[in-house]
């Protein structure tokens, strides 16, 4: 998202987010584990944690565009925080359903494929989790209190711990009411992941340009080699394409007119471009980019982890192809492109 197209208010929001996430990078070296609890407290303090919740429950009443700014900023800095899970997914679902308990200080969110288990991020640090599942065409949700003393099996990937909660058959499942709510939360999930991946791609683009200017071989900076220029151009082009697809999606979200097709366009473009970008960016970095110490893997790892969440490119492309197979397919295609 280019800063000059932003309103003054959103520019301020963007600067505030950028400053917080830049400071978080400086703390990385001295922190143990992936989760920056201090940063999360700061986000709460300045109103970026309960970002889109209404002011009446202590939220900031932010729009989708503003939420996207914050998610993009974190991702572009290679910083992981549970804003999306806490506010835009779990928080939104609880508010929409009117769950009497309201949000906790840190909520996370997951979809259960089989109704009995669920793989989700942040369960190691969240107080509560909201899980959604479908059974016999009906959607239910459950609110789980997470206990840090009996940790479920987990794996760290892309700077986040992903846990597998199991034996969920017996928890207290409640109906979500209207089926549209579940579809909406899945679209929201796919949207936030697209925004995050595009942000991380932007971050990789910056790191790659920087590296190509600094690193010298054969007496020249890498950027002087035509083969490297081609890689740099691929990285920049695919970052731009992903950013554009996401901007298109955020416009639709902002107008509250988002369809599965809009989400599919973003998921597909972001996912396919990310594949090209990650390979080219790592290629420019050489061996240094394969180390734990270098920050590059925080971006590529996050991109892999987020890309598949709420359906990856292939899943959404299939949905879009189905959408474009009806009797008015040709018109539908042109409508997808032009909006009318």
């Amino acid at each position: 998202m280019s800063p000059d197209s932003l309103t003054a208010e959103n520019r301020d929001l963007r600067s505030m987010a950028d400053a917080l996430f830049t400071a978080a990078i400086d703390r990385e070296a001295t922190r143990s584990g992936d989760f920056d609890a201090d940063l999360w407290e700061e986000l709460h303090a300045v109103g970026l944690a309960d970002l889109t919740a209404p002011a009446s429950v202590g939220g900031s009443d932010a729009t989708w565009r503003q939420a996207a700014l914050v998610l993009d900023s974190a991702a572009r800095h290679g910083i992981q925080v549970p804003v999306a899970e806490h506010d835009l997914l779990a928080g939104w679902l609880l508010r929409t359903i009117g769950d009497p308990d309201g949000s906790s200080r840190t909520d996370t969110f997951g979809l259960s494929n089989d109704g009995a288990s669920c793989v989700l991020p942040w369960a190691d640090v969240a107080e509560t989790a909201v899980i959604l599942r479908e059974q016999n065409g009906e959607w239910h949700y459950a609110r789980l209190r997470l206990h840090s003393d009996d940790a479920p099996p987990a794996v760290a990937f892309g700077g986040v711990t992903w846990s597998r909660l199991s034996e969920l058959e017996a928890v207290n499942w409640k109906p979500v009411g209207s089926p549209g709510v579940a579809d909406a939360v899945i679209r929201r999930g796919a949207a936030v992941r697209s925004i995050q991946v595009a942000g991380a791609m932007d971050g990789m683009n910056s790191l790659t340009v920087e590296h190509a200017m600094m690193r010298r071989q054969f007496g020249q900076p890498l950027r002087k080699f035509q083969a490297v220029q081609r890689l740099l151009a691929d990285v920049a082009a695919h970052s731009a394409l992903a950013g554009t697809a996401v901007a298109r999606l955020v416009d639709a979200l902002e107008q509250d007119a988002v369809t599965d097709a809009d989400v599919a366009v973003a998921k597909s473009c972001v996912g396919r471009s990310a594949e090209v970008l990650v390979r080219a960016s790592h290629q420019v970095h050489g061996a240094i980019g394969t180390t734990q110490e270098h920050r590059l893997h925080r971006f590529s790892g996050a991109i892999y982890a987020w890309s598949r969440d709420f359906g990856g490119a292939a899943t959404w492309e299939r949905k879009l192809a189905e959408h474009l197979s009806g009797p008015e397919a040709a018109q539908d295609l042109w409508r997808l492109v032009t909006g009318v």
Binding site: F218, G219, R279, A314
Partner: protein, 378 residues
């Protein structure tokens, strides 16, 4: 006739394949190894390497006089290809077997051959390769580690980086500058030494990779003394020696097999979705062709012919393929119930992280394109 270039029949090759396959299947059943992608870098297991030595699967092209098997490059090819297909833990001996043994045979003194080859063949002696330095990656000839002549030997000072396995290996080949850059081109005045990693003045510092494991290292050399007998080949011939072995290093099955375990497990567990079956057809076809290309280079080398350009092609196309397998697997698993802690989930994650190195190690794809182009235009 040289043992390693005797004719080999297809039926000999096939029965060797069956023999290795049978051994690996039995070991896997007994749980004596767990397959992994990129096993020639990630799977370090001294006991397994010794077992391969006992079975005659190491130093296969080394003459029997030095403890080797006196077999052909083609036989070595099929053994390594089967090991990689099984994802077997071959990292410990990999460099010693692939690079060091052939270099010792080509350039080593009688004493060096007797010292190292029998133990390499037994799977007991592991090596590292000290070529790259912080400021010398693709521009290898710019290495600054110095070898200075002193009474009875050389003193070596400098720092190496990305030295795989240096924390577990016995010794490493060190590329140094022994004549300061001057009138000659920069490919002159380079020399190789065999440096034991427990020599006084050697310090090995770990570098943790993005997969969280410790594969490679920084190695600092501070006035490390080596005797004249530790010179590999001839002083001043370092560049020629390093580049002469590249065809072997670049054309082997490890250049297209690093992600085979992932490919195989998706098929074996029935994870290929119907809509993805066309992609599987494409992946399988490329694998078959790459195998043939790589085997063709082995045949050329077997007959003693040059194969530099084709070797570079194998690596260029093969490592790209390895990366495409990862993207394909991610696509296939998309939308399927997926346990990131299960075997496929874990292998996919590791492959995504390791992939970055495939098109870098052993010469980057950009450098290889240069080699291919030069091969076309000379």
């Amino acid at each position: 006739m040289d043992q390693t270039s005797r004719p080999v029949t297809t039926s000999e090759i096939n029965s060797l394949r069956r023999e290795v396959r049978g051994f690996l299947a039995a070991f896997r059943r007994e749980g004596r190894f767990t397959p992994t992608v990129d096993c020639w870098v990630r799977g370090w297991d001294d006991e397994f390497s010794k077992e391969l030595g006992r079975r005659g699967y190491l130093a296969m092209t080394v003459p029997t006089a030095y403890g080797g098997q006196g077999r052909t490059h083609l036989e070595r090819f099929v053994v390594t290809e089967e090991l990689l297909a099984a994802g077997a833990p071959v990292a410990a001996h990999w460099i010693a077997d692939r690079q060091v043994a052939p270099s010792l045979l080509a350039h080593g003194t009688e004493e060096q051959k007797r010292e190292y080859l029998p133990r390499i063949a037994a799977g007991e002696c592991y090596f590292g390769i000290g070529m790259s330095e912080p400021d010398s990656g693709s521009d290898l000839a710019s290495v600054r580690t110095k070898g200075v002549k002193v009474d009875g030997g050389y003193r070596i000072t400098g720092s190496k980086v990305w030295t795989s396995g240096a924390h577990r290996a016995e010794a490493f080949f060190v590329l140094t500058r022994t004549t300061p850059l001057g009138d000659g081109g920069k490919h002159e005045g380079l020399s190789q030494f065999i440096v034991p990693l427990d020599s006084p003045g050697v310090e090995v510092r770990p570098i943790v990779s993005a997969d969280g494991l410790h594969h490679f290292n920084e190695v600092f050399l501070d006035e490390v003394f080596v005797a004249d007998s530790a010179v590999l080949g001839r002083i001043g011939d370092g560049w020629k020696q390093v580049t002469s072995e590249l065809s072997f290093e670049r054309s082997g099955p490890e250049r297209f097999m690093s992600t085979y375990v992932l490919l195989e497990s998706l098929i074996a567990e029935g994870r290929v979705q119907e809509h993805g079956s066309r992609q599987l057809g494409r992946i399988a076809s490329r694998l078959a062709a790459l195998h043939t290309l790589s085997f063709g280079v082995a045949q050329r080398l077997h007959r003693g012919g040059p194969a530099d350009t084709d070797a570079a092609l194998v690596k260029l196309l093969g490592t790209e393929f390895e990366g495409d397998v990862v993207a394909w697997a991610a696509d296939e698993m998309d939308g399927q119930a997926h346990d990131p802690m299960g075997f496929i989930g874990q292998q996919l994650r590791i492959a995504q992280v390791q992939r970055a190195g495939f098109t870098l190690r052993g010469g980057t794809s950009e450098v290889l394109r240069g080699v291919v182009t030069r091969g076309l235009t000379v």
